[in-house]
Amino acid sequence: MTRQMTGAKMVVQALKDQGVTTVFGYPGGAVLPIYDEIFQQNDIHHVLVRHEQGAVHAAEGYARSTGNPGVALVTSGPGATNAVTGLTDALMDSIPIIVLTGQVPTFMIGTDGFQEADTVGITRPCTKHNWLVKETDALAGTLHEAFHVATSGRPGPVLVDIPKDVQFATGNYSEKRTHKSYYAPQVKGDIDAITALAKAMEKAKRPIFYTGGGVINSGPAASQLLRELVDATGFPITSTLMGLGSYPASGKHWIGMLGMHGLYEANMAMHDCDLMINIGARFDDRVTGRLDAFSPGSTKAHIDIDPSSINKVIRVDIPIVGDVAHVLEDLLKVWKARGRITEKEAVAKWWKQINDWQAIDCLKFRNSTSTIKPQYALQRLEELTKGRDRYICTEVGQHQMWAAQYLTFEDPNRWMTSGGLGTMGYGFPASIGVQMAHPEALVINVAGEASWLMNMQEMGTAMQYRLPVKQFILNNERLGMVRQWQQLLHGERYSQSWSEALPDFVKLAEAFGAKGIICKDPKDLDDAIMEMIEHPGPVIFDCLVEKHENCFPMIPSGKPHNEMLLGDAATDGAIEAGGAVLV
């Protein structure tokens, strides 16, 4: 069925037909017709951000916390270029978002018109796919196709660039994709490879599940099946930063996050395992450490929906291309049908070894009665908020790693962090997106003061929409992770890594009409955190923490998993000069 309408109306109609209820955006000349349509309807809630980067990160937060695609709407030229960081972030972390950009009229393209930029050219390498729509008749079909591409296979960001004359002109609206898309990624895994994995599981003496964001992207069924598989086999499970929550932190087979700042036991188990089952992770360099010493004795299986992830950095023995939920379902069936066999005694011995590593207690830190240690702040935050309907966002840096170490996640979609791109300024707008999706939930952005200042303008958004997001800033007046690396690698020459002229965060909150809390004494911390939680509106929590705390444990650059630095270890000479280039 087709209907006649303007391109601008088609945009709103297509969003409605795709089930979109929330759009994050910022108007401008080239999208005015679309904003005019938004004005004349009530089904789609538009959230006015204060910077286009904020719109894209908010859409990401919305998407990560719901599993549904996030939508951002921005104008041409600077609106589009400001969206680039968010698009790249979403590409690296496989987050389904649809970014709609205005463009100068088709007849002006190529003339260096006002606010013209080659948006599809600029965003080609940082989107999964993008389109410039030159005819109104093609607009609806393209928008539906955009949702299809963003959400199927390995999810990712897409962009549709819509010239202003296409928005004004009238054309045929179609409710579905106009032609059957040839984009149809494989979701079922090869049954022979799955059987090979089941056989390897039967013989494994030191197995480990290494899971990633792909489990969460695959949907709630994947997390459910993962839990069933882990509990049925009794194998230990670790996860990347992106995969936290797919298996509950309280689950008895959970051995913590792995990677550069992962837990000692998780990294040691990765190094010494004889069967590594990678489920929806991508052997990121923050996880593998030194490649030629990565888990040298193991058989490696890799389940991934993206064929290009397989054998990209680590060669695997059992590659399985497919969607995590589909593959896990088949794997469970095959493994059960073959008699639910595991090497029980050997696995029990393996657990004993893991328990020995756990006994080292790698997250131990020296607490203080006079200064708030950042780890302590997060321990208290965890204690006072766990069990609540809680969503955590982070910025990027030390606080992010501490949050991953000290906070626990029982369910998927509860943890929003910029993993692949490492975007400072991600967390605050993301928390706005999360709160829009979950108005009743407790949404906390664990931040560092430097990251937080990168998108602090979004306080205006939080206030305008009465979003009670809690900005929990671990303020060390430093670019903590940069400072840590300078201490370890660059002869303690702290080049440009401290924040001078910081604002008074309490006054800053008050200037926006929000609540500000400052806390610097460990004795006051619990009360202050409770005050933050109980306040019904947005809060900026300025938590003044130890300025020179280092984030441990740590795999220094260029080192393998079994050469981790622990907390009170001497750090002098820990990183060979050759490791410096790997950062």
């Binding site: 050219g121 796919h129 010494d272 030629d292 990565f294 054998n311 990209k312 020995d356 050469e563």
Partner: protein
């Protein structure tokens, strides 16, 4: 490193896998990439090669199915077997890419390139150029009293050889298409 407080004899002191990632030989492969002929598709393919640091030795593209708007891109690339595998997987990930075929591994194939060469000269050189063109089965597609434009098809090596011979005889200019390639035999490419 003293940082690890490990018990003596812990199983963590495993041997390293000392595989040198650069020890693999560089191979040349000819890829046939079937794509939807939509705006920007070539930029996506080329951007992938430049963005990820892959080599393009030659690339040809033209629409081969006007009704279905499908183009065929023939790419000659080189890299280690590992890199070649990545190139194919990454190409397959581009949304408007329908099929990726590695003609080098899928069986015997023929690859041909067309070149136009402008050669100027008089007297013996001109006669010699014409004689060599005959040997190489190049044809004359344009002629003046002092020049020829030769058209030659063949493998890149054959065209290189012909160009080398023409150089002392007055080669002025050369235009080459890059390689187009098809698998040998009766069957079309298997999807």
């Amino acid at each position: 490193m003293s940082a690890l407080r490990l018990k003596e004899g812990a199983s963590s002191h495993s041997a390293y896998n000392l595989r040198d990632p650069n020890a693999e030989p560089i191979e040349r492969h000819t890829l046939a990439v079937l794509v939807a002929n939509e705006p920007g598709v070539l930029a996506r393919v080329i951007g992938l090669f430049s963005g990820r640091g892959y080599n393009i030795e030659s690339l040809t593209v033209a629409e081969v199915d006007h009704q279905g708007h499908r183009s065929r891109i023939t790419i000659v690339t080189s890299g280690t077997p590992h890199v070649i595998e990545q190139i194919k997987a990454q190409l397959g990930r581009i949304v408007p890419v329908h099929e990726v075929h590695d003609l080098t591994v899928e069986g015997p194939h023929v690859g041909r390139e067309l070149a136009l060469l402008k050669v100027t000269g008089k007297g013996d050189a001109r006669v010699e150029a014409l004689r060599l063109a005959d040997i190489f089965r190049a044809s004359v597609v344009d002629s003046t009293l002092t020049s020829f434009v030769f058209e030659i098809t063949g493998t890149p090596e054959k065209i290189d050889a012909f160009a080398d011979l023409m150089r002392p005889l007055g080669l002025q200019e050369i235009a080459r298409t890059g390689v187009a390639a098809l698998a040998r035999g009766a069957l079309p490419l298997k999807k």
